[in-house]
Symmetry: C3
Subunit: 213 residues, 3 copies
């Protein structure tokens, strides 16, 4: 299990970084300043994990381990110095968000199972962790969340990833390799769904889509 | 007290269902897809209770008892298959929301009192539980929350219901019958306030209402 | 340390009042009614502290001490009876918000340090407490948060105040006088930044500001 814990921590910090970059990119698109970029990076990167840790009733990792503050700072600086073209903001945002999604649905599920939640609750918490940071990011920036955008599929890959993780942990097959496969699968599904506009049925049978979201 | 606990659980699951339907109906109105409908149903149905349980420092019921996941799934399917007319979305949304409000102001207050909070805190937490799920639902869907809509009264019935519940529990008169009376009263007040545009005074003495919210 | 705790409680209640007034003023500007004013005052005044207490895993002060409910009621009545001119809403809102910011970055940091968090986490939680209530206030009222408004500096003064507080507590120099100096400094910096449009660099190097936020 120690191995799984180490993988979870490593993946967790990387996931924080990916979501943090998505936060800084949204800050750039909304015309926020450097401080707003850092705050939105922190909220996107740490929000899902803080929600997860509050629910399983432990002090949030972001507040007990200062290492969690490094990814948002790196993300803010990266976007500040390396980013230039305005036309690529939205695309990059989706890609980094998808990378975070792929990692957090795994780490959220694992941490929940380690705290003794049953598998169904573990999957629910994994999905909450995965979509929580991005949801907070979009809500505080006053956007309709990507999570609810009916033009492509967002939550389904995270649900699949959390379910596979619970299955792998339950069968004892979870390790670095299988974890990487799940993360890659979730990432690929999300990016492909966005690129090719894979869609789920609308909320009401028989209703037609309007032209835009 | 066991009786009160059983009533609370039954009412709680029913309240989750009512709010979940309101979430799926809002998802329909916003043009979200089926997955977004399930997510908004879950957030509306479970959000208030999760907030309540975080505040009284217990693992949220939604994450310890898988039964809480059934009402959002049912609500999503119900809206998907049975719903048809677009003109009735807003009306039905208010009615289901009112039903959830009537039940959650009771269960929230009871759970708070059972955890030893004093009556004032119990009432505050009951109101938080009752309005929390609907507030989260409207906020993540990027709407001005019903809670703050000055065209009718929303929170007052919930405050009254939470206060009556605290009184009934304190005097030992809380049971299935008195609980049902309180829930019906809150539901009726909310629906009547909406139907007949009962209003509270504006936030500033002497200011006039604009034409719309 | 008892002295520091007393100072923290006094400052905390005063901070709740300042943020509560900002909430009622925003409710006035948005055309909400008296109940919405009370709710937005409560959310703005108590939201940051509740988030802080959830993170350090204690029952939120607002739910264990009924005294915390008095400031929102006072703020709602104050705005209802004493407020008249529409043109001053935005200005007063910023001033009261700044006063709350100055106090909460101190009380949040102190409470975190008392619960044994390390200084970096204490500063992070102090900033979270200071900006949390105002963020929730703006988000539920469906506004782009003041926190992210690139036309002036908002979070930097709070970060400075939380950092100075951690330094003063760590060196044993924190007391009523030094606390008051820090609060005044944060308040003054925030109000001056707003009055004279002090700005931070944008999120991306070389991008130009658009005319408005």
């Amino acid at each position: 299990m120690t191995n799984a814990v180490d993988v979870a921590l490593m993946i967790d910090l990387l996931g924080v970084f990916f979501f943090a970059v998505s936060g800084s990119l949204l800050a750039a698109r909304k015309g926020f300043d450097l401080v707003g970029s850092l705050l939105l990076a922190s909220l996107a990167g740490l929000g899902g994990g803080v929600a997860r840790d509050l629910i399983i009733d432990t002090v949030p990792a972001a507040f007990s381990n200062p290492a969690y503050l490094i990814p948002p700072v790196l993300a803010t600086l990266l976007v500040y110095f390396l980013f230039s073209g305005v036309e690529r903001v939205s695309n990059l945002l989706v890609v980094f968000d998808a990378a975070g999604l792929g990692l957090f649905c795994i780490t959220g599920t694992i941490k929940a199972l380690e705290f003794g939640l049953h598998p169904v609750a573990g999957i629910l918490l994994g999905v909450t962790t995965a979509v929580g940071g991005g949801l907070l990011r979009d809500v505080v920036a006053n956007e309709v969340p990507q999570l609810f955008d009916p033009r492509d599929i967002y939550a389904l890959p995270a649900m699949l990833g959390a379910g596979l993780t619970a299955l792998l942990v339950g069968t004892g097959w979870f390790n670095v390799v299988t974890g990487a496969v799940v993360a890659t699968l979730v990432f690929a599904l999300r990016v492909l769904a966005w690129r090719f506009s894979w869609r789920a049925p609308l909320a009401v049978l028989g209703w037609k889509r309007s032209g835009t979201a």
